[in-house]
Amino acid sequence: MKTLIITGTRKGLGRSLAEYYLKAGWQVAGCSRSPSDLSHASYRHFELDVADEKAVVEMVAAVDQQMGPIYGLVNNAGVASMNHALLTPLSTLKRIFDTNVSGSFLFAREVAKRMSRRRSGGRIINFSTVAHPLDLEGESAYAASKAAVESFTRILARELASMQITVNAVGPTPIDTDLIRGVPAAKMEALLTRQAIQRKGQIEDVINVLEFFLREESSFITGQTIYLGGVH
């Protein structure tokens, strides 16, 4: 039974991913800032802020020791904020970078240390967004944070290659979750017209890419970002 860490599992996409992999027979460790009502024999939940270094170090150590070797990490936890740059407070920018960049960095670093020590290799998957390649107005802080995640993904892929750890990213289109609640319908419509396939994404679309990255056979795939919907 393989072990997977998925961040941001209390609700939305992260919750669905945790349920999917539990059903598929994986052991899953998840986290969020508040408690989760997800109950399953193979699931363990940790309450933490993904940008809290000490808490992340302790969670990854606990998972490694109590749930066996960590095979994969899915850095799903993320926050967005849609606003014109001139109306965006610094505190919002910092909050977005803390969760999206620092959180992904800390989890990747700690999980890679464990994989390195066990000489077991593994899979790290980060989350980007089509907002970055599409240069969406109103999403400067969010898209910039994901641009950082993509750069981190590519460089980490090189740094961890000799440890047989692959590092990739998936860039979803809008999916109906809390992340895009509050985006005006006209703006959403305009965004969709810029995709080759003009529909919102489904959770299954994201899972399909994760499955590809997680497969043992994908050991030669690293440093890649796959966008959904025909965006590049």
């Binding site: 000490k54 150590a61 390195s116 020590r117």
Partner: protein, 100 residues
């Protein structure tokens, strides 16, 4: 830090370096000693081997002492003398962090 704890740290570092030397086929570190040079001038480790050693040591410290430490922290990176220079300096760095 008391003597027993200090010698436990030294044993841990020596054993971890020894295992790393086997895994990475590092010449000259098969039988490490307290004064063995690790990283930098005259050291046997390249940067990847050092990364692996630090990861191994952090996990080893946690197993042995039940404490999570980070060796490559701000203190280490700004120190005038690198704590990764030798077995001895690593023992010192770990002991300092265990003392908090």
């Amino acid at each position: 830090m008391n003597q027993t704890k200090n010698s436990r740290v030294e044993t841990l570092v020596l054993e971890t370096v020894k295992q790393l030397a086997i895994d990475f086929e590092l010449k000259g570190l098969e039988v490490p000693r307290r004064e063995s040079l690790l990283y930098g001038d005259g050291g046997a480790l390249d940067s990847m081997a050092l990364v692996n050693l630090l990861a191994d040591l952090e996990a080893g410290v946690e197993d042995a002492f039940g404490v999570s430490i980070t060796l490559a922290d701000e203190r280490a990176l700004s120190a005038a003398r690198s704590p990764f220079r030798s077995v001895e300096s690593l023992v010192e760095a770990i002991s300092e962090r265990l003392e908090g």
